[in-house]
């Protein structure tokens, strides 16, 4: 018998590590492709050779980043089959359809047009070449939709029906899976933060040239494009973040309560702007009255449930207790087992009875796996601090980008050493915000792999912890070595700089 919690922890750690590596490159590719396409368009429109060299340089870095990211996500799919076999089977074809579409789009759009984009200089017409740049950008972003839809389904399993004969979920409405509120919000919030991250990458590299007093005009050109793109993206991140919070309040109220460190629900609920989490009590700090109610319910008088309301239930607001949901979940699991026995003996009367019990209680299926109601509470401190730091960084990015845009408008950016240094540091903060967002989304929804239906403890394969530990460290060593080699190439290209013969040194 394996230690289940250790197995779950190591399996989660391995998945988190792999996703962390994958998420270093993917967001950069998503946003970078559009920045390059914009620069390319300016070159085609103006015919200015300086823009050609600017585009070529950033395109080269895009190519390196694109290549580094190749196949880092495949290891996640390996893990589904090896470490998470119960989940992989249970989830059915919900993942299969979106991932198959992703594969086709990624292959045809990205693979085809990225080659034309990279190798097309002087070999295809300018119009076809710039079209390839835009199609590469659209292709990379389209392929991201599908994996985000798959992730959104885990947070909000819409458009599917459980088949007790096969123990698999089956898609009944492709539109409901693809266009669920969670999927739309997740996609928009994720891609806009990716655009923001890519903008900070361009700004940081250009700022480095300014610090080194090299390629100043090139750096100014690049920063202008990235600042405008980044500012628009940062505003959209805030807008879609607001929509996401509203959606989380409806679909994952426990996650929202953890994000705000809210134990005792209330109307006119305040939002903690800056604060600290307390053990089993409401977070304290600088409060903005009523704002959490507005964010969560779009009504200042709206009730926002706290962790205690969700654990113990709240009759006034029609919130069932976790104990009630655990009883319902156990009924569902028992009915599922009995249904299978009746199915095997061909007892159709019993089958119908058990299936009804199962389906009536299916929305609480996952709660039946818990022994203690406290198991449904996610790590509050990690979720709270990650969320608040992410939001603070989000507002900082808007203010910072507005400031450096103003400095550029006044032609004072390069003289302002603080602005240049902060521009260089910005990429690290943008990465931090990106990873924090991912932590809020994934740690905040624990203990679930599929919200309310399947907890992580029931999702893993019955394998030895040692196997997962070995592959964890193996992966860590191999991918760190490859990462160093690949980043080495990227840094060498940056150090060499753009090929600007007729411009400043």
């Amino acid at each position: 018998m394996h230690d289940l919690s250790t197995l779950v922890d190591w399996s989660r750690a391995q998945f988190a590590l792999t996703a962390l590596y994958h998420w270093i490159f993917v967001p950069l590719t998503l946003g970078f492709s559009f920045i390059v396409a914009m620069m390319h368009t300016i070159y085609v429109k103006t015919g200015d050779e300086k823009w050609k060299e600017t585009t070529k340089f950033w395109m080269k870095l895009f190519a390196v980043n694109f290549a580094i990211g190749v196949a880092t996500g495949i290891i996640l799919e390996f893990q589904f089959g090896t470490n998470w076999s119960n989940y992989s089977w249970f989830v059915g074809d919900i993942f299969g359809a979106p991932l198959a579409i992703e594969g086709i789009l990624a292959f045809f759009l990205e693979s085809t047009f990225v080659a034309v984009m990279l190798f097309g200089w002087g070999r295809v017409s300018k119009k076809f070449h710039v079209t390839a740049s835009w199609l590469t950008a659209i292709g990379t972003n389209l392929s991201a939709i599908w994996i985000l839809i798959a992730n959104a389904w885990m947070q909000d399993p819409a458009g599917t029906k459980f088949n007790p004969e096969t123990a698999r979920n089956e898609m009944v409405s492709f539109a409901n899976v693809v266009f669920s509120e969670t999927a739309v919000n997740k996609f928009l919030h994720t891609i806009f933060q990716a655009y923001l991250l890519a903008s900070f990458f361009v700004i940081a590299v250009a700022a480095w040239y300014i610090i080194k007093n090299r390629h100043i005009l090139f750096a100014k050109r690049s920063i202008l494009i990235a600042t405008v793109f980044g500012l628009l993206a940062s505003i959209m991140v805030a807008v879609t973040g607001d929509a996401s919070a509203y959606n989380v309040a409806k679909k994952q109220p426990m996650k929202l309560a953890a994000m705000e460190g809210l134990y005792n629900g209330r109307t006119h609920a305040h939002l903690i702007a800056v604060g600290i989490v307390k053990n089993n009590d409401d977070a304290v700090g600088f409060k903005i009255p009523g704002l959490l109610s507005i964010l969560a319910t779009h009504d200042v008088n709206g009730f926002v449930p706290g962790i205690n309301d969700l654990l113990n239930g709240n009759q006034k607001y029609n919130i069932p207790s976790i104990d009630e949901r655990m009883v319902s979940g156990k009924l569902a699991i028992n009915a599922f087992r009995d249904y299978k026995k009746a199915f095997n003996t061909g007892d159709t009367t019993s089958m119908a009875l058990y299936k009804k019990t199962l389906m009536d209680n299916y929305k609480n299926f996952g709660y039946g796996f818990f022994k203690n109601k406290s198991e449904v509470v996610p790590p509050v401190k990690i979720t709270f601090y990650s969320f608040h730091l992410m939001v603070a960084l989000g507002f900082y990015f808007i203010a910072f980008l507005l400031w450096i845009l103003y400095l550029q408008y006044k032609d004072k950016f390069t003289q302002n050493k603080l602005a240049v240094k902060l521009s260089f540091i910005g990429i690290f903060l943008a990465y931090l915000a990106t990873e924090l967002g991912w932590i809020v989304a994934e740690v905040g929804r624990q203990p679930w792999t599929i919200q309310d239906i399947l907890p992580v403890s029931a999702s893993t394969s019955d394998i030895a912890v040692g196997n997962v530990q070995i592959t964890f460290f193996l992966f860590l060593i191999i991918f760190t070595a490859l990462l160093i080699a690949e980043l080495g190439i990227m840094f060498k290209i940056i150090k060499k700089g753009p090929n600007l013969k007729n411009e400043e040194a």
């Binding site: 390196v64 090896t82 076999s85 070999r123 299978k340 394998i463």
Partner: protein, 68 residues
Amino acid sequence: MLKKIWHFYIDSFLHMGKYGKRLFLIILIKLFILFAILKVFFFQDFLNTKCKTDKQKSEYVINQLTKP
């Protein structure tokens, strides 16, 4: 037309710069490690090792999910 596309790709790869070639080498090493080592020896599909048919797989998972 197909011949032109073929030449476009082949010429491009043959005339790729130093960093491009190095990058492709790393990608090939990465793909080899992923598919020829990790997938084959460390990331076998768990249910495929336990069951042969989909029916067996569903029964196995049902037993896993409903065991007391």
